[in-house]
Symmetry: C2
Subunit: 218 residues, 2 copies
């Protein structure tokens, strides 16, 4: 094949190379980074806000917000007095490592312990793109239904942790949470599982405790 025709493998490895550079840069600055992936409306921003409020004075947090359009989420983060960068992808269905590299230039990395990257709302595309994070987290919400591991298996394979969100809605929605836990663990036995409601506060203590262990203060 002629040298000047790019092939998919080269494009992917370009992303992986930049992701590796991001990871080294973050490690050098002692920033622990979590890439949060979920469907639209699963509660990504609310979960980040719960961490900001629950860890205030305990960990220094920064946020990169990924959206197709708008800055509604980053405005909420900014109101908490937290450094935040918004990435608008246009029509893009996921963030990539080069977008994160640009965003890192805008953040005071030496003043951040824990960096959340809120990926574009999507259960499919973000899974294939390493951003340079140390930890990959998915959120699935109770109203999305308990069949998601069958229909979107990759994301459950690929993440380190899963937050099952909106558990306050369990009384109103048919959702077999015992079976759901079993199914998720059958795909990924070592996954960290959290069951959380930001409305009632249920499960938030475990979620915050885990975030502290990820980013020990030095």
């Amino acid at each position: 094949m002629p040298k000047d025709i790019p092939v998919i493998e080269q494009i992917l490895s370009a992303n992986d190379q930049i992701a590796e550079q991001n990871r080294e840069r973050l490690a050098k600055n002692r920033v622990h980074t979590i890439n949060i992936m979920a469907a639209p409306g699963a509660g990504k921003t609310s979960l980040i806000l719960s961490a900001i409020r629950g860890l205030r004075g305990i960990r220094r947090i920064g946020v990169i917000e990924g959206d197709v359009a708008s800055d509604v989420d980053s405005v909420k983060i900014r109101q908490e007095g937290i450094p935040v960068v918004q990435i608008n992808t246009g029509g893009g269905c996921h963030l990539d490592a080069s977008q994160i590299r640009v965003a890192l230039d805008q953040l005071p990395l030496n003043e951040i312990d824990l960096l959340f990257i809120e990926n574009v709302g999507n259960l499919i595309c973000p899974v294939g793109f390493d951003l340079g994070e140390q930890t990959r987290l998915a959120i699935t919400s109770i109203p999305e239904g308990d069949d998601k591991p069958y229909k979107y298996p990759s994301i459950f394979h690929e993440v380190d942790a899963l937050v099952i969100s909106k558990i306050d809605l369990l009384p109103y929605i048919p959702f077999n949470i015992v079976e759901y836990r079993r199914l998720v663990r059958s795909i990924k036995p070592e996954i960290q599982l959290f069951e959380v409601s930001v409305v009632t506060g249920d499960g938030l203590a475990e979620w915050l405790e885990w975030l502290k262990t990820l980013s020990p203060r030095t």
Copy 2:
């Protein structure tokens, strides 16, 4: 540019060409086709099931199910005695016209009045791909929150109709439905809006009535 290097414009137009062929074929068979697009868990399959049950004996329905993986949805459709074809995209985040062409070969088109295509659960990717449908429908559910038109404007621009689903959950979730209607209509003034709960049955009569007007029996 050498002739043998495909460019994106040509690929897109190949999809559009096949979509046009699908549309002609469907018209010739007097099949009205609705492409349903929504985030994971918005209630696409439940809404299709409501139409199957509500229009039994009134319209003959067929279904094409698009999923990254699994056949859990098409099994539910099949249990209703309805012709259904499952398309599994592997990692693909949307259906395309050539997949639909193959699916149409598997369906008894002359015995179908109304064909639902359930696209892959995704608010972003499906919008750019004409499948040959006559009508484009989006579903957004109450638990996804009322900020979706800001964050995913394209889908609201591109559809003919929007079903706001799971309205039975309004008492438990902060969601300003008056503002949501206004916002959606500011993006697309002529959009058909339905507010539905398949649990309580609210709004189903209007939804079924509209489906009947789309596919007048000949």
